[in-house]
């Protein structure tokens, strides 16, 4: 909403600078986004003048020398090049030194005296362009006759337009009157309403116009007046100027008045060409199925119930509260105007606008809700202005269909409530004063309570706490103290999932991985690229996606993490990339919302690729692979005291020979593996193995162990033996370790060398284990260890086909 200060001051005197007015409005909830100052001219040097006479320039045909009266008996004669200058005009005169826009240099410059073809000229009669008012340099700016000679032009023509960011609860502030009332309350002044009186003719309107409101549920009040004998034409300058400053395009005098009064009061109005209204009858009714209307914007629109129409005896001629029909619009031939000012239902207006994808100044206001009391006030004001600017006679009276007349809401504000909500205790007279300043009628300022009636322009005040806010914002939020909460702190409720996610983030970051966060929306194509589609649940689609790339909710984090990896690999080839995301995937529980909201499963995906270490003098060479991912995962799981088992498995996005299922006891945790080459290709990753792990965070909650039991450190020494075994390639190392560690004298076993070279028989591999012997009962003797080792070697041979290397050679 653009609110020119010059317009506001018609209803309330403003003696504060625009910035201060804007500040107070903003603090009180009516944010001023911006102030556009027009006519910030030098008050001493740019003034209103009157052209006394115009002489010809002695040396130039196209130049003249007007003499300008400047008040206090002063005059000035300057050289002028404008064709339109004439004696008697009120003009803007600039003295030497005035800072004006120069079309020649394209800059603002101080006006200097000049010798123009032999005549010295110190001053200037200005055009719009020098004053920064427009780009019309066809001639000088001619002011209205009422311009007071000698006054600073800034006072007469200058203005500040407040660009207001009006919140949806304050349709009253979509009007200059509404803003003026706020300014009044915030500056201790009183706002006055404009004059709405006019002379009526002898013909009662009821004799000429027949108005029937059929759907009173959608039209609570309908008022109308009739002006005959108007002549349609351009509006006077004051009206056009006001509209232009408020960002409204002037059209013709009658339409301009309806727009002007809508901006003035916040009440939309509509003017019908009365001669085009069949049978002089207006019917307010729901649209009929199949009905069409050619609207003012030239669109032929299909109407459907329950859109509300304004119809004549046969057809719709307007869409109530949204837009008028083309058939009955003002034309140069129009002589009789039926003026409508009605109250239309907010929700229905909003739905109609949404269905037609049409938002107008009228629909924007109606859908925010207006009070029915407003309709006749705006009607009379607009009727008066039409008579002023378009002539004609107003019929006697107005039509006012208002079947369900309502009392203004009455609310009582108690001192106790103010104390409870705001934590302050102002006395009743202060509260009453604040509310009065906003136009609330204080009915009964006695006792601890203030009873008020809500003024007709306010639709947002319905309950006691609304009045609490009114009091707080008029006093100023700054006047309310700042205190610490003194009520009891509630019992802590544990949040294991939040804690688990945070722990995993910490341990993964400590393991060298960078956290990333990707979009929750993706496309089926992207999911498919990570082989996450077709192998998982159908994703939920977005009904109104912004783009195809963000058309569904992700069912897997893999795609997002892989594309992040791909883009980072492209820019950091000398360094490995390790990244992870913890986020939700969205799994529908059924085919429709009847099954409830989708499951939001917290997942953890980590990926790594590229050199294990950046180039360094002490580097361990090589690129990251399966075992790097597994190592990080093992370390992270160990942090939450979780011992996981890894078994060979397959996964559609992973390399079939390099994938392991991760589980803990009977709980499946997830998967680790190297990404399938064809998936890498889809993500544009070349020449790099990508290791990935994916963990269901919920499963970690199920299986992780809080620090529980404790066992004292074993005080007997360990002994280690190294066993180099040759075993069938198909036997997993985990089976060997499981067998070894089953033995009661073995604390642990560590595979420390893996060999699968040509020296081995086909189908064999060799793994060396360091076996750590230890007993809880005493120091082991060499004999005990030897016996144990012999026993183990026998079992390894029998159960797994493993032999001590070189033993049989």
């Amino acid at each position: 909403m653009k609110a020119p200060l010059s317009w506001i001051t018609q209803y309330v005197p403003v003696d504060l600078p625009p910035q201060e007015v804007a500040h107070r409005l903003t603090m009180a909830g009516n944010e001023v986004d911006d102030i556009t100052v027009t006519g910030d001219w030098d008050r001493e040097r740019v003034v209103v003048g009157r052209v006394l006479e115009v002489k010809r320039h002695p040396n130039a045909d196209r130049l003249t020398i007007p003499t300008v009266e400047l008040g206090d008996g002063k005059t000035a004669a300057v050289v002028c090049g404008a064709p339109n200058v004439a004696a008697g005009q009120k003009v803007a005169f600039a003295h030497e030194g005035a800072r004006l826009f120069s079309a020649r240099s394209g800059r603002v410059e101080a006006l200097r005296p000049a010798n123009i073809r032999g005549v010295v000229s110190s001053g200037m009669v200005c055009s719009e362009i020098e004053l920064g008012l427009g780009d019309d340099h066809g001639g000088i700016l001619v002011l209205d006759d009422d311009a007071p000679v000698g006054t600073p032009l800034a006072d007469y023509l200058g203005d500040a337009v407040l660009d207001m960011n009006v919140t949806p609860n304050r349709p009253d502030c979509l009007s200059i009157m509404g803003i003026a009332r706020e300014v009044a309350a915030l500056t201790g002044r009183e706002a006055v309403e404009p004059d709405s009186s006019y002379l009526e003719s002898e013909v009662p309107i009821e004799d000429v116009v027949d108005i029937e409101v059929v759907d009173t549920d959608l039209c609570r009040r309908y008022t109308a007046s009739l002006v005959t004998g108007v002549s349609i034409g351009p509006s006077p300058k004051w009206l056009q100027d006001a509209l232009i400053k408020a960002d409204q395009r002037p059209i013709n005098n009658v339409v301009d008045v309806t727009n002007y009064v809508m901006l003035e009061y916040g009440q939309p109005l509509h003017a019908f060409d009365f001669d085009k209204v069949k049978d002089a009858k207006i019917v307010v009714r729901r649209a009929r199925a199949g009905e069409r209307l050619l609207t003012l914007d030239g669109e032929d629109r299909a109407l459907v119930p329950p859109m509300l129409t304004i119809a004549d005896s046969s057809d719709a001629i307007g869409l109530a509260g949204v837009i008028g029909g083309a058939e009955t619009q003002m034309t140069e031939a129009t002589t009789a105007v039926l003026l409508e000012s009605a109250n239309f239902d907010a929700v229905n207006t909003r739905r109609t606008g949404a269905a037609l994808r049409l938002s107008t100044g009228a629909s924007y206001r109606f859908e925010r809700g207006l009070r029915a009391e407003l309709a006749p006030l705006a009607l009379r004001r607009a009727t008066k202005l039409i008579l002023e600017v378009a002539g004609g006679q107003a019929a006697k009276g107005i039509v006012d269909v208002y079947p369900g007349e309502e009392e203004p809401p009455a609310i009582t504000l108690t001192r106790e409530r103010i104390r409870k909500v705001l934590g302050i205790d102002p006395d009743v007279s202060e509260t009453a004063g604040a509310l009065k300043s906003l136009g609330f009628a204080v009915v009964e300022p006695v006792g601890g309570a203030v009873a008020v009636k809500v003024p007709y322009w306010r639709t947002d005040v319905a309950i006691e706490d609304d009045l609490v806010e009114e009091l707080a914002r008029i006093r100023g939020y700054d006047s309310i103290p700042t205190t610490a909460i003194t009520t009891a702190i509630p019992h802590h409720s544990p949040q294991p999932m939040l804690d688990m996610k945070d722990r995993m983030r910490d341990v993964l970051a400590a393991a060298g991985m960078c956290e990333m966060i990707s979009y929750s929306l993706t496309s089926p194509g992207e999911l498919d690229g990570a082989a996450a589609l077709g192998n998982g649940p159908e994703p939920l689609m977005i009904a109104n996606p912004m783009s195809g790339e963000q058309s569904c909710l992700r069912t897997s984090l893999r795609a997002g993490v892989l594309s992040c990896l791909a883009s980072n690999l492209r820019v950091s080839r000398n360094e490995g990339v390790r990244t992870f995301e913890i986020g939700r995937v969205y799994i529908p529980r059924g085919k429709s919302a009847e099954y409830g909201l989708p499951e939001e499963r917290e997942m953890l995906v980590g990926v790594m690729a590229g050199p294990r270490e950046p180039v360094s003098w002490g580097t361990r060479s090589g690129d990251m692979d399966f075992y790097d991912a597994k190592g990080v995962l093992e370390s992270a799981l160990a942090q939450i005291r979780l011992e996981a088992a890894f078994e060979k498995d397959t996964d559609p996005s992973l390399h079939p020979g390099r994938t392991a299922r991760v589980s803990s006891g009977s709980v499946a945790l997830g998967v680790v593996g190297e990404v399938h080459p064809s998936v890498l290709e889809r993500f544009g990753i070349e020449d790099a193995a990508v290791a990935l792990f994916e963990i269901d965070v919920e499963s970690l909650l199920e299986s992780s162990q809080e620090a529980g039991g404790y066992s004292p450190p074993n005080r007997y020494p360990q002994s280690s033996r190294d066993l180099a075994l040759t075993l069938p390639a198909s036997v997993p190392s985990a089976a060997v370790q499981a067998l070894l560690e089953r033995h009661k004298l073995i604390a642990r076993s560590i595979p420390f060398d893996v060999y699968s070279g040509a020296e081995l028989p086909p189908g064999k591999k060799s793994i060396s284990y360091r076996v750590v012997f230890q007993s809880e009962k005493g120091t082991l003797t060499a004999e005990q260890i030897n016996n144990a080792q012999r026993d183990l070697l026998r079992r390894l041979r029998q159960e797994l086909g493993a032999e001590l290397r070189g033993a049989d050679s």
């Binding site: 603090m27 009180a28 909830g29 919140t167 949806p168 609860n169 907010a346 909003r350 859908e367 809700g369 409870k420 909500v421 705001l422 934590g423 706490d465 609490v468 806010e469 707080a472 914002r473 939020y477 700042t482 205190t483 610490a484 909460i485 009520t487 009891a488 509630p490 802590h492 409720s493 949040q495 999932m497 939040l498 993964l508 970051a509 060298g512 991985m513 960078c514 956290e515 966060i517 990707s518 929750s520 939920l540 977005i542 009904a543 109104n544 996606p545 912004m546 950091s572 969205y586 919302a593 909201l597 989708p598 939001e600 270490e613 360094s616 002490g618 580097t619 004999e783 030897n786 070189g806």
Partner: protein, 351 residues
């Protein structure tokens, strides 16, 4: 040492080794002794290595003897080593000097996303004031995202929250599932599930159907806050949020509370801090106002309280909501919100 070791050989070598060890006079001699017996080509090492080639019976006997002998020799060596350890000479140490300016062996450094770090900082500050952190669903019912927050269907305030709708119609064929536009639906969910007192913060992702530019992302992170009890006032709201703003942005920040409108609070508040770019004079960062908005807040609307079965005559409370990326941008001087979801490690590794 091609000979197959016997128990006798083992004993002989061990005895010789221990005798020579007694004669060792300094650390350097000890090291020479160690190499000759226990080094890779040492006599005792060779014996131990040769055991594997023996027939099983001999292997067992010789193995036991060799292990026992090695244990004796190791122990004796350790004892001598302790004697010499205090005699390490400066000259010796000088020989061992290294180039300390070479970089250390690289250890990969991971980072937490700036959004995560900021969420944690926000939650930590509120935790110190008794607020528990909880989470809620991102895919939400219209009912929680709007209706229970005093925003009925077709309310013009819905224009404030451009919504992604999920194509997941309900029984009546209507779209009632959406991506939450704010974390505020958790206000209703939490109060439905608990009796006062309530004091929580809710971090989480939200979604807005909005074009992306330097200050707008369609996906964003918010932290919601809610405190409800008998006896919580607007003054408490100011005190709590004032404390928060100064903890997160610094003691020297000024905090401005002004009236604003959100349908689920009354009175409504906009909280701003003075612009640290211009100090309040007005610049591009603050849109020439001198103030930077950091969150919306207000006293919980009585209709919201009624909707969850709280008696608004008894219970009052305040709620607030802030954009985490916005807070992080202000803290770190990040100029473009789109960095947060671009996942460029060159960005992420700076935090």
């Amino acid at each position: 040492m091609a000979d197959r070791p016997t128990v006798g050989v083992v004993e002989a070598v061990a005895t010789k080794a221990l005798e020579e060890l007694d004669a060792v006079g300094d650390a350097e001699a000890l090291e020479r002794w160690r190499v000759s017996y226990l080094g890779r080509r040492g006599e005792l090492t060779a014996i131990l290595r040769g055991i594997g080639t023996l027939p099983p019976e001999a292997r067992r006997q010789v193995g036991a003897a060799a292990n026992a002998a090695k244990a004796r020799v190791d122990e004796a060596m350790a004892a001598r080593k302790r004697e010499f350890s205090r005699e390490v000479t400066p000259a010796l140490l000088a020989e061992d000097s290294i180039d300390v300016t070479l970089p250390g062996r690289p250890v990969p450094t991971g980072r937490l996303h700036p959004t995560t770090q900021t969420v944690r900082e926000i939650c930590r500050i509120f935790a110190s004031m008794g607020f528990d952190a909880v989470e809620g669903p991102e895919v939400e019912w219209d009912r929680y995202n709007f209706e229970m927050l005093n925003i009925p269907k077709h309310h013009p305030a819905r224009d404030m929250f451009n919504t992604f709708w999920v194509d997941y119609p309900d029984r009546n064929g209507e779209q009632s599932v959406l991506l939450r536009t704010h974390t505020s639906p958790m206000q209703a969910r939490i109060m439905e599930d608990t009796r006062p007192p309530v004091r929580v913060v809710v971090p989480g992702k939200c979604y807005r159907y909005e074009a992306t530019d330097a200050t707008h992302e369609w996906q964003l992170t918010q932290v919601e806050g809610l405190a409800v009890d008998d006896g919580i006032t607007f003054a408490d709201l100011k005190g709590t949020l004032y404390e928060f703003a100064r903890q997160i942005f610094g003691e020297e920040r000024r905090v401005r509370f002004r009236c604003d409108y959100f349908p689920f609070v009354e009175p409504g508040v906009d909280v701003a801090i003075d612009c640290f770019s211009c100090g309040g004079a007005g610049c591009r960062t603050c849109g020439r106002t001198g103030w930077i908005e950091i969150m919306g807040a207000g006293m919980v609307h009585p209709n919201v309280l009624k909707g969850v079965g709280y008696d608004p005559a008894v219970y009052t409370g305040f709620a607030f909501g802030m954009g985490v990326e916005r807070i992080a941008m202000l803290k770190h001087g990040i100029e473009d919100i789109r960095h947060f979801y671009a996942n460029d490690l060159r960005f992420l590794k700076q935090f």
